[in-house]
């Protein structure tokens, strides 16, 4: 029966969350991002924000969370992350659109919990950047403790990763030697090759799209025909052409950004976001004209040649040119202090408090087309909230509590209290294992008495 216990606990937990009482967060400074800032309360019911106001009558059965002196902001949305997956890069081929993060989501990656502790509630989990056209991406909510499928952001538009420049071409020729030498692993090994791969892939995708149209026409005419072979590599590209899948393109240099926008225009699809986009400030007008969003870093650059011509004003300049801009992490570490990153844009570029917060909340939500659900504190939106002890744009601020769908997923006090318990558990298990090993040691049993 001992081993049954976790299940019973799990069952009880699920049952209780179904009928969760409403929650009222009281006396907090509420940074709604889209509706200004106020001091007051938030009523959460059934996972949604039901009421926001300076004075709220708490329902009799409500659980009261006193947040006096604390700050509530929308849960942070990270438009570019690589946590919570068992693999990231299918770098063997120049078009790896057949693979997808959804297949390898790992809900037990500790980075999820650590990101929660930084106030992040939603993340776009991207394939790596080794290929001109990479794998499919998945938007998740950081519902720590749930199974993989339950993390997926219901109804969020699926995405796909593209990558330009050094990464996809280096994957083709890692030693950097003369092109044509035996050490070239795969095409492409140059920037122009990257463009060619994208063109070729979409030419192929159009033919594939046509083959299905032809088949469907035949069926409609009542002719006998075999359906075309389903091609998992081309299906996502057809979805891109049909506007059913977002393109998130890793890029740095202005010339390549323009190249990609032109290729997309030519083939009739949209680039949803440019990722990293460190030279975006040079071509902000063109990016805005295409309608692409930009997801960049505050001040992280110079880690390779194409990432040198960067300035900390990038996010602000692109914002002023009318682009929807977000700041992303691309790193499990950076992910824990995106609020800090946002604050830097106030010093470099003079963004307002609300504009700075938008870069990590409503803007990435817009980029992922989930802004009807998350990204700001508004009535009717998901109760995804982060409570900080100080203003989140202060680098002394710490996260106290994080709610997703009205459920508490991180609680600083609980975390601190649990540490001793975990240490004790660990010691017990280590001691037990040592004892087991001692008993099982072959020498201990078999050695004849001397």
């Amino acid at each position: 029966m001992k081993s049954m216990k976790p299940f019973l606990v799990a069952c009880l937990f699920t049952a209780s969350s179904l009928a969760a009482p409403p929650i009222v967060i009281q006396n907090a400074t509420i940074l709604t991002v889209t509706r200004g800032t106020l001091t007051g309360s938030i009523l959460i019911r059934n996972g949604k924000i039901e009421e926001i106001g300076e004075r709220i009558t708490a329902p009799a059965d409500a659980q009261i969370v006193d947040a006096t002196g604390q700050f509530v902001m929308p849960g942070i949305v990270d438009c570019h992350s690589h946590i919570a997956a068992d693999s990231i890069n299918e770098g063997s081929v120049s078009v790896s659109a057949m693979v997808g993060i959804e297949d390898v989501l790992n809900p037990e990656d500790i980075a999820i919990y650590r990101a929660l502790a930084g106030g992040v509630t939603t993340a776009n989990i991207l394939h790596g950047s080794a290929n001109s056209i990479g794998g499919k991406c998945t938007v998740v909510k950081l519902r720590w403790g749930k199974d993989a499928h339950d993390m997926i952001f219901e109804g969020a538009m699926p995405g796909i990763k593209f990558a330009l420049g050094e990464n996809p071409k280096r994957a083709g020729n890692p030693s950097g030697q003369r092109i044509g030498a035996a050490n070239v692993l795969r095409y492409p090994a140059t920037r122009m090759g990257v463009e060619d791969v994208i063109r070729e892939a979409f030419t192929e995708a159009k033919a594939y799209q046509q083959s299905w149209k032809d088949y469907n026409d035949k069926v409609a005419r009542g002719e006998q025909a075999i359906a075309p072979r389903r091609d998992l590599k081309l299906e996502p590209l057809v979805e891109v052409l049909e506007g059913k899948r977002f393109v998130h393109a890793h890029c740095y240099r202005a010339d390549e950004i323009l190249m990609l926008l032109r290729v997309a225009d030519e083939f009739g699809f949209k680039i949803r976001t440019l990722q990293h986009v460190l030279e975006g400030y040079k071509v902000a007008k063109e990016i805005a004209a295409h309608g692409a969003g930009a997801s960049t870093f505050s001040d992280w650059w110079s880690y390779k040649l194409e990432a040198f011509d960067a300035i900390p004003y990038n996010a602000a300049i692109m914002t002023r040119k009318g682009i929807v801009v977000s700041l992303n992490s691309d790193s499990a570490e950076l992910m824990r202090h995106l609020n800090d990153e946002a604050a830097k844009t106030m010093k470099y570029g003079g963004l307002s408090e609300t504009e700075a917060l938008s870069l990590i909340t409503i803007n990435p939500a817009k980029q992922l087309a989930i802004d009807n659900r998350v990204g700001s504190i508004e009535v009717g939106k998901d109760a995804d909230l982060a409570i900080f002890d100080k203003h989140p744009l202060s680098n002394f601020a710490k996260v106290e509590k994080v709610y997703i769908d009205g459920e508490l997923y991180f609680d600083r006090n609980k975390d601190l209290a649990d540490r001793a318990v975990h240490e004790a558990d660990k010691k017990k298990l280590l001691d037990k294992e040592r004892e087991l090993q001692r008993r099982a040691a072959p020498g201990a049993v078999r050695r004849p008495a001397a």
Binding site: S92, D103, R229, R230, K426
Partner: protein, 462 residues
């Protein structure tokens, strides 16, 4: 008749087998698994099959009688996922490359030796190159009665193994194999146990497609879609050969279509969830294997109505782990709780079979089984998971897995409870042929100086 001739041949040979037409084990405790224990009963074997079993069975006049006082008769044990019967290359002494592999990756084939997955000659450029695929290879074509491991497997009580080609993503098709025979053909009980799938990768950039777990999963999915398309195209072509382009013959797809079920690996709860969804998505008849985290996956398995094969080789701390890199609480918990998996599955009504994970020596197996028993698994459930349950999972319960008339005469006869260390395995019957287990060789890691001196062969003394 054929059987009889074979038996006579066996009898005439120098094997430890004797081959009368019929054998009756008399006055023994009989554990049929499919029914209640018979405290004092008789089992009659004839022509490789069980002829009769019960408390009041007449012993045929032509039967050799074995007095069963103090003996217990069990169905022969079945290793539900194995390479027994496929001769292994002489195990190379842990060479540098293999020894320095990082601690067991999350998902590898439990059958292949570490690092043994070899990519095809030129790196594959996509699913169309069918990387690491030998789906058409049949274990039935690979087994040999000369596999040196058959002796020790029988000595441990195993009479049957479900044997698979070990390497690749689509490694090939399993066979249900009896662990003795004069010819390879005699060993095969069924030649289509299922397709064995691992989630191997080409191992890094430069090795070709797929080099990541998600690449492998995408490949497996594409191959199943291709197989379905191929099946329809072949059907269509068969109906309309005139005016239809004929589909290209593809042995990889032939192999996949041949297999009645697929074995998919699942290590963590996350993998169980992932593979169940994957199988459901492709409507595969899937059996999951591995399951060290089965103890916390029972809800998922129960909901899916899945059957699983549990590796008896419980996860252990690596031998050469860095003392400065202590394991996480998560890892320690899994190592501690993994042996409770069979008990938890039994309590939740999930059908499971056990497999040896390459362990051959009876002492090693008993140690691993004891850990499961200590966690609350009943000996009855343990026995079932090594006999009737694997037979049911592989669809051969009509001929294997219990002591019932008409079934194959695979038995283990012990002096005491089969899961007790002190218990002696007296006889093992495979297809009705009696074996008396030979002394197990000393463990490979025993120090030579402490090994007992080899006794002189009996023959020379006489």
């Amino acid at each position: 008749m054929k059987r009889l001739v074979v038996l006579l041949l066996v009898a005439a040979s120098a094997l430890p087998a004797q081959g009368p037409a019929a054998v009756a084990i008399h006055n023994a405790r009989v554990v049929p698994v499919s029914g209640p224990v018979i405290a004092r009963g008789t089992v009659v074997l004839r022509d490789g099959l069980i002829e009769a079993v019960g408390a009041d069975v007449n012993i045929p006049a032509d039967a050799w009688v074995i007095e069963g006082d103090g003996l217990t008769i069990y169905p022969g044990l079945i290793d539900a996922l194995s390479t027994f019967g496929i001769p292994q290359p002489a195990t190379p002494q842990a060479n540098g490359a293999a020894a320095q592999q990082p601690a067991a990756p999350q998902i590898t084939s439990p059958l292949a030796t570490p690092g043994a997955v070899t990519a095809a000659n030129p790196p594959a450029r996509g699913p169309e190159d069918r990387p690491m695929t030998t789906s058409w290879v049949r274990a039935a074509d690979l087994v040999k009665p000369t596999d040196r491991r058959l002796n020790s497997a029988r000595a441990a009580g195993f009479t049957t193994a479900v044997t698979f080609p070990p390497r690749g993503i689509f490694a090939g098709q399993g066979a249900i194999v009896d662990l003795a025979g004069e010819t390879p053909g005699q060993m095969i009980v069924a030649d289509n146990a299922g397709e064995y799938v691992t989630l191997a990768t080409s191992g890094g950039f430069g090795g070709g497609f797929p080099n990541s777990l998600m690449g492998t999963i995408a490949y497996v999915r594409q191959l199943y879609l291709d197989a379905e398309h191929y099946r329809i195209a072949k059907q269509f072509y068969a109906a309309h050969p005139r005016g239809t382009a004929r589909p290209d013959y593809d042995r990889a797809l032939e192999g996949v279509l041949d297999a009645p079920r697929v074995l998919l690996p699942a290590t963590r709860r996350t993998d169980v969830d992932r593979m169940l969804r994957f199988a459901d998505d492709l409507r595969l008849q899937a059996v999951l294997y591995g399951l060290p985290e089965g103890y916390r996956s029972a809800d998922l398995l129960k909901k899916a109505g899945a059957s699983v094969l549990v590796n008896l080789r419980w996860p252990e701390k690596g031998r050469d782990t860095d003392p400065d890199e202590p394991d996480t609480l998560q890892v320690l918990r899994v190592r501690d709780r993994a042996p409770s998996t069979p008990a938890v599955l039994a309590q939740n009504g999930v059908k499971f079979a056990l497999y040896t994970g390459g362990l051959e020596r009876r002492a090693d197996l008993l140690r691993e089984i004891k850990r499961a028993l200590d966690e609350g698994l009943s000996p009855e459930d343990a026995l079932r998971a090594l006999t009737l349950s694997p037979a049911e999972i592989y669809g051969v319960a009509d001929r294997l897995g219990s002591i019932e008339p008409g079934k194959i005469a695979n038995l283990v006869v012990t002096k005491g409870d089969i899961f007790q260390t002190a218990t002696e395995v007296k006889y093992v019957f495979v297809d009705g042929v009696k074996f008396e287990p030979v002394e197990e060789p000393a463990p490979a890691n025993a120090r030579p100086e402490s090994a007992p001196p080899t006794p002189e062969p009996q023959g020379e003394k006489q």
